[in-house]
């Protein structure tokens, strides 16, 4: 494949594909709680409750990683980066929730011993991904974007856990 000419056609890497990031998502990077976003989106109480419920779902994922690490320390070491990402997702969800009220206790349950631990953990992560994706459908604006992104991120984690 020959390299593109210096003055060639529009490039997808810097222009077409990343244009969306530059165009209007900057406010998402700051958390979804800015007053401008709130004013624009006018979150309903149902949407707020739904988002709070997803905090509990995400907390369960974090608890599942801890339970899996306790049951299979080798697996725990292998997926340390996934744990960090799940915790980061939880923090962002908490920041995005109106009133930041939900702090439900996680209830992941006990993880089975190896070699079943990995499949159990993958199932927990996949279930949370599906839950976030479903909740995303009834949200709007930055909150829909955040939930959708987290759902996709967890789906990607299941590839690593396969």
């Amino acid at each position: 494949m020959s390299p593109p000419p210096p003055s060639g056609p529009p490039g997808f890497s810097r222009r077409t594909l990343l244009a969306a990031s530059a165009a209007g998502l900057a406010f998402l990077a700051t958390g979804c709680t800015s007053s401008s976003a709130d004013e624009r989106e006018k979150v309903t109480s149902q949407q707020a409750d739904s988002l709070s419920a997803q905090i509990a779902v995400q907390a369960t994922v974090v608890a599942a990683f801890a339970a899996a690490a306790a049951a299979d320390p080798g697996l725990g070491a292998e997926v340390a980066d996934l744990v960090a990402q799940a915790e980061e997702q939880l923090a962002r969800l908490r920041a995005a929730a109106p009133g930041n009220s939900a702090s439900a206790s996680p209830a992941a349950g006990g993880a089975p011993p190896a070699p079943e631990t990995r499949a159990w953990l993958s199932g927990q992560v996949a279930a949370a991904s599906t839950s976030h994706a479903t909740a995303c459908l009834d949200q709007s604006g930055a909150r829909a974007a955040l939930l959708g992104s987290i759902a996709a991120g967890l789906a990607g984690q299941t590839v690593r856990l396969a």
Binding site: L17, A20, L25, R40, D81, G156
Partner: protein
């Protein structure tokens, strides 16, 4: 009393269609780019590039159909696209696939942010999730770490 003022930040079909047009552009680029990816991969790995290209072609065609139904002109494909880096090896090909999927993911997150229709969000979450699942496979193939992303499609904080 009717309010004739327009909130420039409000979501409506116009914002949704604009985001969908950006998604069409990203999908066009992905379809084209996977041709380059496939050419760079070893024969045994080309099937995955073909599957990915087909998935993007299908999604692109769905959005174009949707925009046509709304009489909103979809974005046409470019004749060619500049590559972000030379693609000279299977690793380069996998890295290009990551760029393609990440770009598509950003476009679909934008759709989620701008959409007003539930069905559009349904389309977007499916396409976004599929893009990230493919991206993880390509990051692994390219030797990139971490292979997963906490927030696919969202700009880094």
């Amino acid at each position: 009393m009717a309010d004739d003022s327009t909130d420039p930040g409000a979501l409506d079909e116009g914002t949704e269609n604009a985001a969908l047009r950006e998604a069409v552009a990203a999908e066009h680029a992905a379809v084209w780019g996977y041709g380059v990816v496939g050419a760079a991969l070893d024969a045994g790995a080309r099937g995955q590039a073909t599957v990915s290209e087909t998935a993007h072609r299908d999604v692109r065609d769905r959005i174009i159909e949707l925009l046509d139904e709304r009489s909103a002109d979809p974005v046409a494909a470019e004749g060619a696209y500049a590559l972000p880096f030379p693609v000279l090896s299977p690793t380069d090909g996998a890295a290009l696939a990551v760029v393609l999927e990440d770009g598509v993911a950003a476009a679909w997150v934008r759709v989620l942010d701008q959409a007003v229709e539930r069905t559009t969000r349904e389309l977007a979450i499916g396409a976004l999730t599929a893009a990230e699942v493919r991206a993880v496979g390509w990051r692994l193939a390219a030797g990139q770490s971490p292979a997963t992303s906490a927030f696919p499609g969202l700009p880094k904080q």
